[in-house]
């Protein structure tokens, strides 16, 4: 029975079918209804690790080069009966490498909670480094923020709102609400702007990017909160504004037609300028 006549909609579907088939063929030999004897030792949970690696067979669409992959090293434990369980076993060793930034590791259903937390935190840090700081991956923007997440942007927006609200001497609640709504709605509208200009960008990827680019403004807002000198505030805001715009530039400009680059970038710059004004004007 070949796998080629089923169309794998999702990679995990195909892998599950592979694995269930292997289990069934084992079952035919050892009698139906018996459970396979030697499962890989699972952590203390009622669920059993059986989902095999989606990145296994060659009937998958072209994969990125192996250096980026979380592919489990070829160390087949000889004691396991079926090849499917083999993948489950060897990918348990590989599943904690997930912070490499490509995406979730293969067998994530049974990893300990702490692993998930670590993976998400490391993803936030790596996304931040990718977007805001100079690094070689900025040459290829599409590949860079592949592993988008919205936690970083969420923290940065809330932090900026809190900082602005703290600096305000009156109407703190309104300041916070306005800052939050402005940033969130602004990110959504800017993304829609790029999409309507015929650009190729994923909605959430762009939201994530615009959120991460707020990090320099966060730093600027903290500095302005600590020191109340107007000149200093203006200098700091200009510097951080330029930094934010520089961070957002390659991703936004790569997404649209070159003739429409300015149309896509100008609103981003405008939004950061307005946030900058908010920071300066708060006293």
């Amino acid at each position: 029975m070949s796998h080629n006549d089923t169309v794998p909609l999702y990679q995990s579907s195909q892998s599950d079918i592979d694995e269930i088939e292997n289990m069934m063929s084992e079952g035919f030999q050892s009698g139906p209804g018996t459970v396979l004897p030697a499962r890989p030792p699972s952590p203390i949970r009622p669920s059993i690790p059986v989902t095999s690696s989606p990145f296994v067979q060659s009937n998958l669409p072209p994969l990125p080069p192996p250096s980026q992959k979380v592919m489990p090293a070829p160390v087949p434990p000889p004691s396991l009966p079926s090849s499917a369980v083999n993948f489950g076993g060897s990918s348990e060793g590989g599943k904690t490498i997930g912070g490499s930034g490509f995406g979730s590791p293969p067998n994530t259903l049974t990893e300990p909670v702490w692993d998930t937390v670590k993976r998400d935190l490391s993803r936030i840090v790596s996304n931040l480094k990718l977007v805001v700081f100079p690094n070689p991956n900025r040459e290829d923007p599409g590949k860079a923020l592949r592993d988008w997440d919205l936690w970083g942007p969420f923290f940065f927006i809330v932090f900026l709102g809190l900082t602005l609200s703290w600096s305000a001497s009156v109407k703190k609640s309104e300041v916070f609400a306005v800052a939050f709504a402005l940033l969130a709605a602004g990110a959504v509208i800017l993304t829609l702007n790029v999409l309507l200009l015929g650009g190729h960008i994923i909605f959430f990827q762009s939201l994530s990017l615009l959120g991460y680019c707020l990090f320099p403004l966060d730093v600027g807002a903290v500095i302005c909160m600590l020191k109340d000198n107007v000149i200093l505030k203006m200098v700091v805001v200009c510097v951080t504004l330029a930094w934010s715009s520089w961070a957002a530039y390659p991703f936004m400009s790569a997404a649209v037609n070159p003739r429409r680059k300015a149309l896509a970038l100008y609103p981003v710059f405008l939004m950061y300028v307005s946030v900058g004004f908010l920071i300066i004007a708060i006293d």
């Binding site: 694995e19 088939e21 994530t108 709102g161």
Partner: protein
């Protein structure tokens, strides 16, 4: 204990169930009761949204896996397209899942979304735009989880059907082949 018996009467994962309900309940309770204690909208907003975000993370990454064996996420492949990935345990483990656990999981998900919706209607009636913002954020987080897990469950069912039809076809084929070899 034979796992193929009727499901156990108690929750199989009490701690996970507790956490699943804890953050949802805390967010709702804080939002409803906070007006009595705090004057500042900022604190209400930040704490409620933080609790709702924590709840979203817990449901998506922990209780979804443990209580119903499902997981969903989004990846961007090489061609730059966004792909929604769904992962589920195989049929045997899914059948072995505690019924009470999954009942709790799904019902609290729906109830929380309904509660936020009702609170949103209240704040709309009272023309409180800033509270509507809070409710909007929490509602969208809940709805995202509901949609994600529902799609994941449908995907798991579809895989089961595909697998079932595949094995029926393969068994039929092998039966016919063995019939022909015997003849």
């Amino acid at each position: 204990m034979d796992p193929n018996q009727a499901p156990v009467e108690n929750y199989a994962n009490p701690k996970t169930c507790l956490f699943h309900v804890l953050f949802k309940g805390a967010a709702l309770a804080f939002y409803i009761l906070s007006a009595l204690f705090f004057n500042s909208f900022v604190i209400i907003f930040v704490v409620t949204v933080l609790l709702a975000a924590l709840d979203f993370w817990v449901v998506k990454n922990v209780s979804g896996r443990i209580l119903v064996g499902l997981r969903w996420w989004n990846e961007i492949n090489d061609l730059g397209e966004s792909v929604w990935k769904f992962e589920s345990l195989d049929q045997e483990s899914l059948a072995r899942m505690n019924k009470k656990d999954s009942w709790l999981f799904w019902w609290t998900l729906y109830l929380a979304a309904a509660a936020w919706f009702i609170l949103g209607v209240f704040s709309l009636i009272r023309f409180q735009a800033d509270y509507l913002l809070v409710v909007g954020v929490c509602l969208s987080l809940n709805v995202a989880n509901i949609i994600g897990f529902t799609k994941c469950k449908k995907d798991a069912k579809k895989q089961l059907q595909q697998f079932a039809s595949q094995t029926i076809a393969s068994r039929f084929q092998s039966t016919v082949q063995s019939a022909f070899t015997l003849v």
